[in-house]
């Protein structure tokens, strides 16, 4: 189905009906707003339960006969294991502060996309199946029984939440819809009801080490293609290192960046940056994925995929791990990794070999973000930069949800951008930093068949970009997330076609003055630099 024109999608009605309650609203699984069902082979490959072929638009989802017990026992078990889940089932007062904070609600107007109602989808079953009042008074207290319709509603709406946590910033009790969605998806996974855009990357990652399923030789070949591009545009030959034992640092980044435009330019940027500072590092083809789609499946699956990072660091004997630009990857590293797979006592507290800075904030996890690392390099004057090469760019920065709200990395990438670009403009307050808007395709929802929902969900982000485009002539949207680099280009194409998407390290590399480099006539994309930029360079 072709996505309707922006003029059509701009018409959104946010007024729910007066008298019909949300429980009576029929469920409509509309094309363009749901992702395809998980390939049973992928589900089976990682040993997740009840792998089966099914069609979300069909009446019969081919559930196992005791599906209800499986889900209810799953809920009972999770209520006992996660205080967040138990508490968030009990304490919401439905004040509505979260309602208009969700990008999917803003973009679709569907009331069940209000975070409070998304949570009520689950809470109503919690009340109806686990509380006395709910069993006695049912509808009166917003309780209902678990039925197939409810289950389908869960599936549709928990895969219409990107776990961005924006609502939790505004909730007076800190109720985090991401936690609810995470639990909801875990429960759906007990019945094999994942989406393929998550399940297949998970299986790929388990087997080949990365979501895309790139086998070791292919991974290396791809990197070599990018090195050839660097040789052509920059004139510097870089020796790559893969699976090299004894390197000081293991570098891990999402595989999306070695595969697709525009992520590849960020990948090139990493290789140039590390060559420029003479970093003793290695890539790994085994731990070749920074992201973790297990996080969108279940906490166990997240742990299984994440385990490769420490395991590979141990095998290669590195001192610490450096991580590339990615959103949810950093929520996993910051809030889960050490707990799940630590303690990483075989590593050392991260110390920049170039500046001597010890990253105290990462002394237990032993993993540092590339923006923290680069900001430290710039601060110590270790990079030779010519920001005027980026003068034709008017840049704004999109805070990815997870580094913003699951970590708080706000200033480091800004510091880097401001040192490699001369024209930086912030989007309006309320749309940046901890209040940033999702790209519309996070948490595994970047599927092609999901295009309509992504354009709707990404509207608030795009709207803010359009604002700075019109006001300041912004033509470049920088980000530190591989998923963003996949989701934002089509979003911009749709809502703000004049704006291109770049990675922060791509901007760094374009400004980087490397030893023995050519006179730069083009950027890493092979696009010719405007003349005045070249003139300035020739003068040097």
């Amino acid at each position: 189905m072709a996505t309707p024109k922006p003029e059509i999608l701009s018409q959104v009605n946010h007024r729910p009906p007066w008298f019909t309650g949300w429980m009576d609203k029929p469920l409509e699984i509309k094309p363009g707003t749901f992702c395809y069902a998980a390939n049973p082979k992928s589900v089976d490959y990682v040993g997740l339960p009840h792998a089966h072929a099914w069609d979300p638009t069909a009446e019969d989802w081919k559930l196992p006969p005791d599906w209800k017990n499986i889900v209810l026992n799953g809920m009972r078990d999770r209520l006992k294991r996660f205080r967040s889940f138990q508490l968030f089932m009990d304490i919401c007062v439905r004040c509505g502060a979260c309602a208009d904070k969700c990008h999917f609600f803003i973009g679709t107007g569907d009331p069940r996309n209000m975070p409070v109602l998304r949570a009520e989808l689950l809470r109503s079953v919690y009340r109806g199946e686990f509380t006395l009042a709910g069993q006695l008074m049912a509808r009166m207290v917003g309780a209902r029984k678990l039925t197939e319709k409810v289950l389908k509603e869960w599936w549709y709406y928990f895969f219409q939440c990107t776990e961005c946590r924006r609502c939790s910033v505004f909730c007076p009790y800190g109720i985090d819809t991401a936690e609810i969605t995470i639990m909801g998806r875990e429960l759906l996974n007990l019945l094999g009801l994942n989406i393929d855009w998550i399940a297949t990357p998970v299986a790929n990652c388990f087997r080949t080490g990365n979501h895309l399923g790139l086998q070791p030789h292919t991974y290396k070949e791809n990197a070599e293609f990018l090195l050839a591009d660097i040789a052509e545009y920059v004139g510097v030959d870089i020796e790559p290192h893969f699976n090299r034992k004894g390197a000081e640092i293991l570098f891990i980044t999402p595989s999306g960046d070695i595969f697709a435009d525009p992520g590849i330019y960020t990948y090139m940027g990493y290789m140039m940056l590390f060559d420029h500072i003479g970093l003793d590092y290695t890539w790994s083809t085994y731990a070749s994925e920074g992201g973790n789609f297990g996080f969108f499946t279940s906490n166990e699956m997240m742990k299984r995929l994440n385990a490769k990072m420490y395991a590979e660091a141990k095998r290669l004997g590195v001192k610490w791990i450096l991580g590339g630009e990615c959103g949810h990857m950093w929520r996993v590293i910051n809030q889960y990794m050490d707990t799940m797979n630590g303690p990483a006592n075989f590593l050392e507290a991260p110390k920049s070999p170039i500046t001597g800075t010890v990253f105290e904030n990462a002394r237990s996890t032993k993993m540092v973000h590339i923006s923290e690392f680069t900001a430290d390099l710039i601060r110590h004057g270790k990079l030779k930069l010519d920001p005027s090469r980026n003068d034709h760019l008017r840049v704004t920065f999109h805070d990815s949800c997870n580094p913003a709200r699951g970590m708080g990395m706000l200033e480091e990438p800004r510091y880097v951008i401001e040192n490699v670009c001369n024209h930086f403009y912030e989007m309006p307050e309320g749309t940046i930093k901890e209040q940033t808007f999702c790209c519309g395709g996070g948490a595994g929802l970047n599927a092609g068949e999901y295009d309509l929902a992504r354009m709707q969900g990404g509207m608030p982000r795009a709207s803010a970009v359009r604002y700075v485009h019109e006001k300041f002539g912004v033509n470049t949207l920088a980000c530190v997330c591989a998923v963003d680099r996949a989701t934002l280009p089509p979003l911009m194409e749709y809502w703000a076609p004049e704006v291109k998407v770049v990675g922060v390290t791509e901007l760094v590399a374009n400004a980087l003055v490397m030893d023995g480099e050519n006179e730069r006539e083009s950027n890493l994309r092979g696009e010719e630099l405007p003349i005045e930029v070249m003139d300035e360079e020739t003068e040097e």
Binding site: L9, H14, R15, P16, W18, G21, W22, M23, L79, R81, F82, R83, Q86, I91, R94, C95, A97, A99, I106, P111, V116, L117, E120, A133, M140, V141, Y173, I175, T208, P216, H217, F242, N243, K245, T285, K303, R304, A311, I333, N334, Q335, D338, T339, M340, T357, F359, N361, S364, E372, A375, A404, R405, M407, G408, E412, T431, E434, Q435, M459, S463
Partner: protein, 344 residues
């Protein structure tokens, strides 16, 4: 549930007022409504509260998941937002205090304005303001009620009464009313605002359940009966104090002639107490335990332990190399086991 939920809640509150009215007026069941009901309500409240909080406490916090709302602590030259992104227990305490005492997150509230695919955000402090007014006036009213349960009355209760009564004395057109208390009026006003916004704002109306309307209506009627008793339909205050002091000294007897309005007031308060542990009113103790607010964002510096950290099946490097060894060697990638040994 939306609007129909309101009707159910309203009917429930009416019934709850009729019960003591009939019971005391027609059947003179003053001991039941004056002694049994308060004790039962307090018992249910305390037991329910404790059981509920213990239940919460029994679920562990497997992961450190604070919602970070400001700059992390990374390098010393980058200014950390230690309140919205706390890194130690002390700063967590500040964050929690601001959250609990000042409703900091609610203060952030914005209102979306949507016009032709453009999203605009405006300030929206009304909910914060009235929520704050509601809770604080409720607190003051509660503290003022200590005068019924203490003898002698502690100085701070008297002081509070003086402050509370100071502002409104002689305010036109209420000059004829005796010692007007600000808190009761604010409570009534703020609760009414919270109630009205559930009717007026379409999205909030849509999400409101019977058990959202009910406690608000209950509190409004509690405040209203209280205000009525104080200013218009007087009850025998000496007899009331005799009863309330009897309750705290476990020697309760309902004296004659207090007035039925008092029993209605007490029955509604009793209902609120008994309802509290089974309802969303548990947000009050809940906020203290909220893992997105009460944890420091320091899980990269200090390891957080998950008590049930599961053992999981991973795909280790050996298995990986086993599958791809030939291709790796061909591509010039180092391998742990040479090809000869690995090949069949």
């Amino acid at each position: 549930m939306g609007f129909p939920g309101f009707v159910a809640a309203f009917a429930a509150v009416i019934v709850l007022m009729v019960i003591p009215l009939v019971g005391v007026w027609a059947a003179n069941m003053t001991t039941f409504f004056g002694v049994v009901v308060p004790y039962a309500a307090i018992a249910i409240f305390l037991a329910g509260l404790v059981i509920r909080v213990i239940k919460w406490g029994q679920s562990p916090v497997p992961f450190r998941i604070p919602t970070t709302c400001g700059q992390e602590k990374s390098m010393p030259w980058i200014k950390t937002n230690c309140i919205d992104n706390p890194t130690n227990n002390f700063t967590v305490l500040i964050r929690m205090a601001l959250e609990i005492l000042c409703f900091r997150s609610l203060f952030r509230n914005t209102a979306m304005d949507f016009r032709e695919g453009r999203v605009y955000y405006g300030s929206a402090k009304w909910l914060w303001l009235f929520a704050l007014a509601f809770h604080y006036s409720f607190l003051v009213v509660l503290l003022r009620h200590l005068r019924f349960f203490t003898d002698p009355i502690p100085f701070f209760v008297t002081l509070l009464e003086n402050l509370d009564g100071f502002f409104e004395i002689g305010l036109f057109p209420f000059t004829w009313l005796p010692g007007m208390m600000l808190s009761g009026m604010v409570l009534l006003g703020a609760a009414s605002y919270l109630f009205l916004r559930r009717i007026v704002i379409p999205q909030v109306r849509y999400i409101s359940l019977t058990n959202d309307w009910f406690p608000l209506l209950l509190i409004i009627h509690i405040a209203a009966t209280g205000v009525l008793m104080r200013y218009l339909i007087k009850v025998d205050i000496t007899a009331v104090k005799e009863l309330t002091m009897g309750i705290v000294t476990f020697n309760a007897k309902a004296p004659e002639g207090i007035g039925v309005l008092f029993y209605i007031h007490v029955f509604l308060v009793g209902t609120l107490l008994a309802y509290f542990p089974f309802s969303k009113l548990m947000h009050a103790p809940g906020i203290f335990l909220s893992p997105t607010r009460n944890l420091a964002n320091n899980s990269r510096a200090v390891r957080h332990v998950n008590p049930w950290n599961p053992k999981v099946k991973t795909h280790d490097y050996e298995e990986y190399e086993e599958e791809f060894r030939e291709l790796m060697v061909e591509a010039g990638l180092p391998v742990d086991k040479p090809l000869e040994e690995g090949a069949e």
